[in-house]
């Protein structure tokens, strides 16, 4: 198995470095007071959006520090931001009421001072490890994400299958290049039954500049179901012949379609759960075509500067869109193959 050959393209939440934010802390003179202070602070100054931060940090030989409040006050909905003059006034206020509520002497807590703490909850173990260097945080591991990042998401057999479909897409790209077209090839597969639904390549150098490989592929799939909006004839293309509706596939696909499409409307989402193998990262137009078509997974080889699946945008995980899909970039090399993708 070559786990590193397939790199998942994940939401920025999983890839970003740890962002830091200033927090006021105070050192606890007597660590026996810790529990009381935490209890009172929890009601007095809840952590709000910073729930991932642990309230206290026990320092080796340096006593215990306790989080008071963020340097920038958290804005509550409908509340205008107070003008902060960079003083520790809010922290001092917190401290005073804390002492009052716990009835502890002023000497039990130090004057507030600033420390840098992780702004976001860690989404991966790597972020957790990095965040923990600054301040103790809680971490709820997403098993699927961890598996994706581990490089062991696909079995050796799956990797082999993905690779062979990508090689087919490469063959289509080569055919495109021979016709003076952009060398981008596409293969669309029904993974459940492991069969190819359509194969095609880019045609943008022809009559219609919108005939990018993905747009061509999506229309070829429509043709496989008796639809299609363009006349696309090329001897290298493949469209799975329309078959007797065994309804199994249709039921399977319609069940996951947009509820707003209502009854019987399987039509608009005919790529639902299909895998797309394309030799180049799709442009924003093509990415949105994949969203509208409700594809399941996309595998691509070459990144593109304005690409929408990792390079310029991450349309497959874009906030606000009602369909998301998985994306993997193939970073391996070909063997036993004369069509070098690079």
């Amino acid at each position: 198995m070559m786990p590193s050959e397939l790199v998942p393209v994940l939401d920025d939440v999983y890839c970003r470095p740890v962002h830091l934010v200033d927090f006021y802390v105070s050192s606890i003179g007597d660590r026996r007071h810790t529990a009381t202070l935490v209890r009172v602070l929890t009601t007095l100054h809840p952590l709000g959006q910073y729930q991932h931060l642990k309230r206290v940090r026990a320092m080796k030989n340096k006593g215990v520090r306790i989080l008071l409040c963020p340097a920038e006050p958290q804005q509550k909905a409908g509340e205008a931001q107070r003008d902060s003059d960079n003083s520790c006034a809010p922290a001092c206020t917190t401290l005073t009421s804390l002492l009052k509520n716990t009835k502890l002497p002023a000497s039990s807590l130090s004057k507030p001072y600033l420390v840098k703490v992780p702004r976001h909850p860690p989404a991966t173990r790597k972020q957790y490890d990095e965040a923990s260097l600054y301040w103790p945080v809680t971490f709820h591991e997403d098993k699927e994400i961890s598996q994706l990042l581990s490089g062991e998401f696909f079995s050796a057999e799956e990797v082999q299958k993905i690779k062979s479909y990508l090689q087919e897409a490469e063959t289509m790209a080569t055919a495109a290049a021979q016709k003076g077209q952009e060398p981008v090839g596409i293969v669309i597969v029904d993974p459940e039954r492991d069969r190819t639904i359509a194969k095609g390549h880019d045609l943008r150098q022809g009559k219609n500049p919108l005939h990018h490989a993905v747009m061509v592929g999506v229309d070829l799939v429509a043709k496989s179901q008796g639809g299609g909006m363009w006349t696309l004839t090329d001897s290298d293309f493949y469209v799975r012949p329309e078959e007797q509706m065994d309804s199994k596939g249709d039921v399977h696909r319609s069940s996951s379609t947009d509820v707003s499409s209502g009854k019987e409307k399987v039509g608009p989402y005919l790529c639902t759960a299909y895998d797309v193998y394309v030799t180049q990262e799709p442009c924003p137009m093509c990415c949105m075509a994949l969203v509208h078509s409700r594809v399941g997974r996309v595998f691509y080889i070459k990144p593109h500067v304005d690409g929408g699946l990792g390079s310029r945008y991450k349309i497959h995980v874009q906030n606000g869109l009602n369909h998301h899909f998985s994306v993997f970039q193939w970073t391996g090399t070909w063997r036993h193959n004369n069509t070098d993708p690079t």
Partner: protein
């Protein structure tokens, strides 16, 4: 503005036509030298292709019009104005930009798929390989466009499948 109303009224007719065919009611018109040269309505169900949006349909008609009338397609697209009843989605915005359409006039916003600011701003973001950014005039006869969409989604909740999102 008078021109905008005139053309948008016609675009709304095409949206209405799409609605009568059971398609999402979006209509559009390409105007070139103060003349309507192509129109489009959604054909998603008819073509079983989820990308058969009004704009994509009309873009191809502009190409056909150019071929029939002996015009250079590139030159024509650089001088057209698109009137569309709803903010173009990300797909269509990218397609329009690629065709070098300089101006898009639209009615209501598209909170679910909009590519002119609602979800992404394909109209203006720097995208060197996709072409020049384009200008927008929005809110022209928006209420009429919304009314048609509401008719389409009547009895259904158009927001049902949406993911939670920050507005």
């Amino acid at each position: 503005m008078g021109d905008h109303i005139k053309w948008m009224t016609k675009a709304l007719d095409y949206a209405d036509e799409a609605l009568k065919k059971g398609e999402v009611p979006v209509g559009c018109i390409f105007v070139y030298e103060d003349e309507e040269i192509a129109t489009g309505g959604n054909r998603v169900n008819e073509t079983k292709n989820a990308t058969s949006h009004a704009e994509i349909v009309a873009i191809e008609k502009v190409m056909n019009w150019c071929a029939e009338n002996g015009h250079d397609q590139r030159e024509v697209f650089r001088q057209v104005t698109l009137y569309v009843t709803v903010e173009p989605c990300i797909l269509c915005a990218a397609a329009l930009r690629q065709m070098s359409v300089p101006l898009v006039v639209y009615g209501c916003g598209n909170e679910r798929f909009g590519g002119c600011g609602s979800i992404l701003n394909i109209a203006r973001d720097p995208l060197p390989s996709v072409g020049e950014s384009f200008d927008i005039v929005k809110g022209v006869m928006a209420e009429e466009a919304v009314l048609l969409l509401k008719q389409f989604y009547k009895g259904e909740n158009p927001h049902a499948p949406e993911d939670k999102r920050k507005s």
